[in-house]
């Protein structure tokens, strides 16, 4: 698909997304606005994972941790009466970046299944930590005291919040696209496909990977801040390792190594879960094999085998 056609298709997609709030109010179905907003927030998280997983080949099973960290940063500040959105969200992004730096510094020294396992272990540690802190509700979690206060936008207005998330998604995708096509991105992608060769040309992947890991963590922290405002509730469940698995599936289903892939993946997975659980309580026996089949056959995801070949 030529870049021009690609741009048209993306533009159409964005237009569709932008049309949801007016359509939702036209048909008196406010639920759908919430549903799509939730999906978009997860799409942002999946997009951040795509940077390190799709492009960088780093299988991080601990990515959901940053959703939790971002969420808790906002929630904890609100708990102590700090409602300034810019401050909260800056802290959410900053803390996530810091934690990603620490975890990444240790984990990126390993590779392959060791990397998977150690990222998983770190997430579990954070999860148990979250459960044991009673002040913030432990595993009961806490209600968000009040939504973040941002200049000019009232997050209590469903539509306004929706467009904010949409704007965030667009920005994340745009900067992601610029990043992977920059020199930095080239190193990451080169290291994924052939590490030995990358080293041979004199580039050490470690620092680049670490930087990518931190960026991914920071963006996911932002998603966490958005999520906690959306659910108006925070809980350590945000950090559960099965949530990381879901994010990974969104990236795979949508198509790794493509910018819009995670968005499609998020839609596909979450809509599927919602529909299936409405039909039968045994929905996992359908979803399980479906996921297996999708990995085996739809290796390149919904968004373009062709694209990857051209890259």
């Amino acid at each position: 698909m030529s870049p021009r056609n690609r741009a048209i298709v993306l533009g159409l997609g964005l237009l569709l997304l932008a049309a949801v709030p007016p359509f939702a109010s036209l048909f008196n179905q406010p639920f759908y606005l919430d549903l799509v907003r939730r999906i978009m927030i997860f799409a942002i998280a999946a997009a951040s994972l795509n940077l390190i997983l799709g492009y960088g080949g780093m299988v991080s099973f601990g990515h959901a941790a940053y959703l939790g960290i971002g969420g808790y940063a906002v929630g904890v500040l609100a708990h102590y009466g700090v409602y300034d959105g810019l401050l909260q969200w800056a802290l959410a992004i900053g803390t996530s970046a810091l934690v990603a730096l620490v975890i990444g510094a240790v984990s990126i020294r390993t590779s392959g299944v060791y990397f998977i396992m150690i990222t998983l272990a770190f997430t579990q540690m954070l999860y148990y930590l979250g459960i044991s802190i009673e002040e913030f509700g432990g595993d009961d979690g806490m209600r968000l005291a009040a939504k973040s206060r941002l200049p000019g936008i009232d997050l209590n207005d469903a539509s306004a919040f929706y467009y904010l998330v949409l704007a965030a998604l667009v920005l994340v995708l745009f900067f992601g696209h610029r990043l992977v096509n920059s020199r930095f991105g080239m190193v990451i992608r080169a290291a994924k496909s052939n590490e030995t060769r990358t080293r041979a040309i004199g580039v050490s992947p470690y620092l680049y990977r670490l930087a990518a890991f931190v960026i991914a963590g920071a963006v996911c922290g932002l998603a966490g801040a958005l999520l906690v405002n959306h659910t108006a509730y925070l809980t350590p469940e945000f950090m559960n390792w099965t949530r990381s698995g879901e994010l990974m599936f969104m990236v795979i289903l949508g198509g790794m190594g493509s910018v819009a892939g995670p968005v499609l993946g998020a839609f596909a997975l979450l809509v599927l879960e919602d529909l299936l659980s409405g039909w039968t309580q045994h929905w996992q026996i359908i979803l399980g094999p479906l996921l297996v089949l999708s990995v085996v056959f739809f290796r390149r995801g919904l968004a373009g085998l062709i694209r990857e070949k051209n890259d």
């Binding site: 299988v59 984990s107 060791y114 579990q124 698995g245 094999p289 085996v296």
Partner: protein, 334 residues
């Protein structure tokens, strides 16, 4: 009113228990208790080893990460329970359970996993994650979501007085014995038999073994089935003392992965070492961490930090091992 909580540990009541004065930073040691906890750690380690051996074997030979290994643990427990209940014989239940798990393992390998050998680990992780969902739901559909009733047969229940004051459940001693016997058997097979030689050769150089005319596919299926059977053995031994219900494999799966990462993936020796270390650290941590902390920080703080730290302990251990020695303690030479 909270009265004398962690600080009361100094007083051990109960007849005939020896107390030893320890260095100031440790709580007074009850030798019998420490011995008992050591046995507990050994038993937990042995169970973990049975699970880890199968998983590490499969990884070492076929380079396959199998998240659904916990499902074989569950299958073993369910089948053994079912056959024990229908035939009335515990031994028959064990044998049929093992055979059944082997069969399920082989079936899974033939149907679902063949395509994954050439894929990277990410695909394997995701595909086998899908298998977990499938098996859990299948168990729920066949036997319901409620836990099944299992029990230890008469001749295996009760206690043994190992030392004056140290009573230990017979069943757990049996588990330790079985686990160590399996470890010995595995060592013998891998180091001393032709099959073991093929396995070791296949781990070093797949293509060469195939070129020499050995049916690599059959070898893979055999090894995978055997690994599944080992997990099933762990499951059927765990059944009577834990709960047999859907999802039981996932509770232990992460610990098993921690074991093989610490021990070194692909190495059975590593699996044994890792399992025993994790079993010991986890058990001794749960038992003694809080009282030890209480001697250096306040009892109330130890109350809060102790349990949290104890649950994170094995992950911290894994992170430490990986930081110092990223390939694990005994990297794959099988």
């Amino acid at each position: 009113m909270r009265l004398e909580i962690a600080g009361g540990l100094e007083r051990f009541e109960g007849p005939g228990r020896g107390t030893i004065r320890a260095p100031f930073f440790l709580p007074p040691l009850n030798l019998i208790l420490v011995l008992e906890q050591t046995l507990n750690g050994l038993q937990l380690g042995v169970m973990l080893f049975l699970m880890a051996a199968g998983l590490t074997l499969v990884f070492g030979i076929m380079n396959l990460v199998n998240l659904a290994h916990g499902s074989f643990y569950m299958v073993g427990a369910y089948l053994a329970t079912y056959f024990y209940a229908t035939t009335g014989s515990y031994l028959l239940g064990v044998l049929l359970g093992l055979a059944g798990t082997l069969a399920v393992g082989v079936a899974v390998e033939l149907v679902a996993l063949r395509t994954l050998y050439e894929r990277d680990h990410l695909d394997q992780v995701l595909a086998t994650f899908g298998l977990i969902l499938f098996f859990n739901e299948l168990a729920a559909m066949l036997w319901g979501r409620a836990a099944l009733y299992t029990n230890i047969p008469e001749y295996l229940s009760g206690h043994v007085d190992l030392l004056p004051g140290l009573r230990y459940p017979l069943y757990r001693l049996v588990i330790i014995a079985v686990g160590l016997a399996v470890a010995g058997l595995l060592w013998f097979v891998v180091a001393r038999t032709r099959l073991g030689m093929l396995i070791r050769a296949g781990a070093s150089n797949r293509a060469m073994v195939a070129a020499l005319g050995i049916n690599i596919r059959f070898l893979y299926t055999l090894v995978f089935g055997f690994g599944a059977a080992l997990a099933g053995l762990a499951g059927l031994m765990a059944g009577p003392i834990y709960a047999v219900q859907p999802g039981m494999g996932e509770l232990i799966l992460i610990e098993v992965f921690v074991v093989i990462v610490i021990g070194g993936i692909g190495s059975i020796r590593g699996a044994l070492a890792g399992a025993l270390i994790v079993g010991m650290v986890d058990t001794l941590g749960r038992a003694f961490l809080k009282p030890t902390l209480a001697t250096v920080i306040s009892p109330t703080a130890a109350d809060a930090a102790g349990p949290a730290l104890a649950s994170m302990l094995i992950y911290l251990l894994m992170a430490a091992v990986l930081a110092l020695r990223p390939q694990g303690l005994f990297p794959a030479r099988l």
